[in-house]
Amino acid sequence: MAIEVVTGNHAAGYALSVAAEANRVGRGAACGIYPITPQTEIVEFVARFPFTKGRVIAVESEHSAMGVSIGAAMAGARAFTASSSNGLAYMTENIMVAGYYRLPIVLAAVNRTLGPPWNIWADQGDTLYLRDFPVIQLYCETNQEVLDSTLLAFRLAEDPRILLPVMVIMDAFILSHTQMETDLPEQDLVDRFLPPLELPHQLNFERPTTVGGLTWPRETLSQRLEIDEAMERVGAVYEEHRAAFEKIFGRDPGGAISAFETEDAEAVLIASGTIASTAREVVRTRRARGEKIGMVKMKMFRPLPVDALLDAMPRATKIGVLDRDYAAGVGGVWWHDLRAAMQGRRDDVMVQDYLTGVCGGDVTPAMLDEVIDDLLGRRSAGKPVWKGIDR
């Protein structure tokens, strides 16, 4: 155990590297890397890491970075990569392939506003836009959570019941470039948590297949169904590995959701990423004044843990969703997804959308106070409410 003061990028780079190194007794580790602000330090970290049995290939684009990682994973290695914003958009075709090939690749993603215009600040639109792909998405609140989630991501991705890529996600600059005390576990602990990878469908000469060749609609459909079944299992499998993580590392890496003061809450804020920290503090302050409000941090976006969410807020009648993203013509993605998932299950609950910190604007306690005031004063939900705009 070594507590150090490091950035979120450092935490992610460290976790990716030691997780990959843990496969040195297996077929090794390999990945493609390509820099983009604010993710650059992650790939710089892994490029410097002295792998015993690993190769880091600095390629010419994000598309190829994921391509290399796919090839490495298909050859049986532990593979990962990292990106952000337009880089993710450029990588998208191969992220899709990694998912449909059921490859346990871990992708560290730093949330940054998609351009144009050129904007390097935090916005979740770049990862939420991958919502329809077979990729598990985990949003982090602290640098420790980035590190822990990355290690957990490999175990979850490589579980034979899952075999899907996992994205570990953090806000640009607010985490990526901000230093916090973080426990960086020693290699031997990581080795205990991450056994050598045995990918069941790696390329081999004994059973030569054409991976990704033509299939008919029925076969493709059955593959999609298998992905759906794997997604169904993610919640329970995550909990198993979360418990194993706590045993080995001595701390809880966090659940798919984390509820705060929600048991008797009538109004609940739903937040993700670093906005959760601000929201928790605002809720704490107003609770002290006797207001029956609570807050849920959503770590997992795919698959969407709706059951856990509903169980956590049995008395809620008003939900305010904090979206640091904007889907054109829709509003917030979290809101859109949550509202759809809750339909028919809690029709008595009003779900209102607040676009907060979109394109990297600050989300202040004062802004969230306004959000809560608006939510409490509402009798019905309306259009998404934009916050932080001067007009």
Binding site: A30, G67, A75, T209
Partner: protein
């Protein structure tokens, strides 16, 4: 009743063939011949391979899952990224000290066009892979559209009056990366073809092979004439057959025999006569042939 089907010997599939009988390639396809030649070269070198194939006729060759037209592991890559996928596969092969070759098998679309950035980058990194482009000078798999490998004058579905631009000189581009080995191969010259594959199989680093690959479907030519056509291309100097070591040492391995390039054009229905200027074609070919001969003379490969 189909007498032929009833009486003929059943096609037996030999597990050892790289490309198995029963694949869906068109008759007269140069790619099929290329795969058979690759199979022979691997066998005589005592090697085996894993293939990485982007979108192209070569991946259709595999047929429908769960069967496969290939007897070796194949990874289908995205159109633009076969050299990147192969780099990952090859890296893990090397980490585990395995002897097999990792070979990209791609058409001209995935090579000259959409895959150019990944190809150039893998060559620049001198990845330990063999990249083979079967150049049929057209997007064959999508029904015959122009590529930057399509020769001038050729009519395709997207160049209805004949292509106006020249063909991209991919060999010059690849040689400029100073890779250990780059060579052009013609199925009309099987011994030269086999020797170059053997050379590639015994070198390390990035090796680039370009096969002139007749495509009767796109070339509007007779399947039975495929080999004769590419022989004419070599003989006339339209498709120079040579090799380049380390990007600068040249060797012409089959010299043009003085055949008239116009004969090559006349025997395919993709070249509308109105789009062809015989004098210009002859001058262009003569210039390119002389330039290459001079390179091979001044920078001779021993």
């Amino acid at each position: 009743m189909n007498v032929t089907l009833e009486t003929q010997d059943p096609i037996t599939c030999c597990d050892e063939c790289l490309v198995r009988p029963g694949n869906t390639n068109c008759g007269g396809c140069g790619m099929s011949v290329g795969l058979v030649m690759l199979d022979r070269a691997l066998k005589s070198a005592g090697q085996r391979c894993q293939l990485v194939i982007p979108a192209c006729c070569g991946i259709v060759t595999a047929g429908g899952y769960p069967t496969t037209g290939y007897s070796v592991p194949v990874l289908a890559s995205t159109f633009a990224a076969s050299p990147a996928f192969a780099s990952g596969v090859a890296a893990v092969r090397d980490l585990n000290d395995e002897p097999h070759q990792v070979i990209c098998w791609a058409g001209d679309g995935g090579t000259y066009d959409i895959g150019m950035a990944a190809l150039s980058a893998a060559a620049e990194r001198n990845e330990n892979i063999i990249y083979i482009c079967y150049d049929n000078e057209i997007y064959g798999n999508t029904g015959g559209q122009r590529s930057s490998a399509t020769p001038p004058g050729a009519r395709t579905t997207t160049t209805p009056v004949g292509k106006l631009e020249r063909k991209k000189d991919i060999m010059a581009i690849m040689a400029a990366h100073r890779i250990p080995y780059a060579a052009t191969l013609s199925i009309a010259h099987p011994e030269d073809f086999a020797r170059k594959l053997d050379t590639a199989l015994h070198l390390e680093g990035f090796r680039f092979l370009l096969i002139h690959s007749p495509c009767p479907t796109g070339w509007k030519s007779e399947p039975a004439e495929s080999v004769e056509l590419v022989r004419l291309a070599v003989g006339s100097g339209l498709f120079p057959v040579y090799e380049v070591f380390d990007g600068w040492r040249y060797r012409i391995t089959i010299k043009p025999n003085g055949a008239d390039p116009m004969e090559y054009y006349r025997r395919q229905n993709r070249f509308p006569a109105a789009a062809m200027d015989a004098d210009a074609v002859r001058a262009e070919v003569a210039g390119a042939t002389a330039r290459l001969a001079r390179l091979a003379e001044v920078f001779a490969a021993g």
